[in-house]
Amino acid sequence: MASINFVRQRIRKLNKLEKKDKKIFKIVAITAAVLLIFLAIVLGIKIYLTTQIKGLQSSQQAFLRRIELQEDKEKSFILFVSKLRTLSGVFQDRQDKQDAISYFTQIFGPDVTIEKIAFDAESQLLVFRLMSANIFTLQQVFDVLSSEATAEKFSSLTKGSLQRTGKGIYQMEISVVVGEIDEVKK
């Protein structure tokens, strides 16, 4: 006659479940412990980094005080460099103008006099009024102005207002825009 023991079966089942639950609990406990250890490490690193930042900030403050003590020197230097940079631009414009003047005063020779120069800084327009001793010199002037070298230097060169005085002197105006070549290069 087979006997049915429900209590033993129940206890066996409960024991099995408990074993399984313990396994799960062990995993959870280990995970929580590892996480807490990591959290402690992270907090430790955070404290270290915060101390480092404080150290850096106090060093910064020390250097800022050192810089503040030399404020006048700094102002003077910055003003000096700003002026140099401004001069650099002014000199560049001036150099273009001077180059143009020296080019036109040298290429024509002694029989040609520049009697008038006008320069407009805004438009960089340079206007020369030339006096040429005779028609042959004037022809030379035209040749020079039409040459490749001149055209290469001053692409915007224009000639005009050609006049002849009673004594056979020829006068004419040349206008060029200076600094064009540099701008094209840029």
Binding site: L35, L56, L64, I67, K75, F77, F80, K83, L87
Partner: protein, 275 residues
Amino acid sequence: MKKKEKVSFSSLLLNRRYLVMSVVGGLLIILILFSGFIPQINSLFELNDQINRDEKKLSALRQKAVDLENIEAQEAYRYVDSVDQILPSKKPLLELLTSLNMVATRNNVRFNNLSLTPGEIASESAEFLSSAKSSKKKRSKKTANQKEFDTLNVELEISGMFSDMQKFFLDIERVAPLITITGLSLDINSDNIVKSTDQVKAELVLSTYYFTQSVSAALETSLPNIGSREQEIITEIRGYSYPTVEAQQQVMGGGLEDLFGLSRQDFENNQLLNN
């Protein structure tokens, strides 16, 4: 029914306590993960970034402090006074007249006429320009003048030998303050081609420059570098002439008669102050 539920919950606690503890532990892990661990990790990255930024800033500040301490040892900085004279921070009226006189005397050139419009005699120095922006006129001038400087124009009529005049034209652009010839007109008396010994007159328009830019710098920004172009400018201005404007040492009497015929009265000490 209520009694039955109570019994089942207590039996759950009794029989599946490890499972319950695991669930609680799991919830705790999730809580620690989302409210503690992840934010802390993020804050570590932020701190690390901040350290990198602070180290860069510190290194820039250290460099700036060292640069400032060694600023006077820089070769270029020796010319700070020369640069100030070449491009002053105020209208260089007296300096301009002194330079013109010096160059004219040096080249035997005579002044026949001189005219200029100085405007405000003592303009603000560049450093204080920002505080002088109240006037609408000045504000418009500043916006129009984005080129960091302004010019003072002088019209001159000079006469002399043509060769001397040519030297004058070259010399005048090599003095302090910086002067540029913007207009030149030769008045040649004869209709012939001019010779170097001929007496000629010339009308000149000169522009002298003064610095008007408002300069500012943050405490933490590094010092500007002096590049090769700036070095070239320094080399260029070394060859310039720097006339000195003589300061008046004493007040000279005009030698005029005392029109009122009053004898000079001596004031007792503090009499004026007391009145």
